[in-house]
């Protein structure tokens, strides 16, 4: 039987998930950098309390980084949760409903996080 995978794959249809795969990796790097930025600033000298904690998120560059991390989380979790649903939920109707719920959940959470960020 002829090999139809790898470099010899039959190229038909749309993309093969490469875009999602790449998006998941790029967004993971953004979130890792955000995590490091928070950890470093928490470890800087000074007693932890409201003033120090809120000051971390008051810088404009930190707001931009946090916003980027929130949007990255949205895309990253969508790819991941969709993978889980495609593997474990076989009935099409249930899968579609759960995927729709996932989008609503993620967009709602991202909206809330951005709202918190904006009013600081």
């Amino acid at each position: 039987m002829a090999q139809t995978f790898g470099s010899k794959r039959t190229v038909v249809g749309a993309h093969y998930g490469l875009r999602d795969w790449l998006a998941q990796r790029i967004t993971s790097v953004v979130m890792a950098l955000f995590t490091l930025a928070v950890i470093v600033q928490v470890l800087l000298p000074g007693e932890m309390g409201y003033d120090k904690w809120a000051a971390i998120f008051s810088h404009q560059w930190m707001k931009v980084l946090t916003f980027t991390a929130v949007i990255s989380l949205l895309l990253h979790a969508w790819v991941g949760v969709r993978d889980i649903l495609m593997d474990y939920v076989k009935p099409l109707g249930a899968r579609l409903a759960l995927q729709a719920a996932t989008i609503v959940w993620l967009v709602g959470c991202a909206g809330w996080a951005v709202q918190v960020l904006w009013r600081l």
Binding site: R25, S28, V29, A32, T35, G49, Y50, W53, A54, F57, A77, G80, V81, I84, W105, L106, C109, W112, A113, V116, R119, L120
Partner: protein, 140 residues
């Protein structure tokens, strides 16, 4: 001919009832824990954003945030909320380190059996140690 076609063994995915008897190697554990930790972070997302909201909005809300973990809230004791946060910490650390392992494998094409096994053990041990250390800071 028809008989041999019928008797062909069918290999299906592992059924859920087989799971307790299934010996999973270390990379397998990292793989399934990546899913479980990711799903947990996804489900607890509103709680995480609630913590961000109350801790950062004002001094009054910061005090409310702190009191939930000491005095409790909604009839639930403070340690319960700390336990949820401990779960979040474990999931975040596990997902973070296993994610770094993923990125490393993607970039270097590090695919051998030995590397997969060793890096999986490192991931599990490092996650365990960090979770214990951060958990100690959270509770004591």
């Amino acid at each position: 001919m028809a008989d041999t076609v019928k008797q062909r063994p069918v290999y299906r995915n592992i059924h859920i009832t087989q799971l307790p008897h299934y010996r999973l190697p270390a990379p397998g554990w990292v793989s399934i824990l990546h899913r479980i930790s990711g799903a947990l972070l996804f489900i607890l997302l509103p709680f995480t954003i609630w913590m961000f909201d109350t801790s950062v909005t004002s001094e009054v809300s910061y005090a409310q945030f702190a009191s939930v973990f000491s005095a409790g809230s909604a009839g639930l004791p403070g340690w319960f909320f700390k336990l949820v946060v401990l779960g979040l910490i474990w999931a975040y650390v596990q997902h973070f380190i296993a994610g770094l392992r993923h990125l490393w494998m993607d970039m270097t094409h590090a695919t051998g059996l030995a590397f997969g096994r060793q890096s999986a053990i490192v991931t599990l041990v490092a996650t365990g140690l960090l979770t214990v250390a951060l958990g100690a800071k959270l509770f004591f």
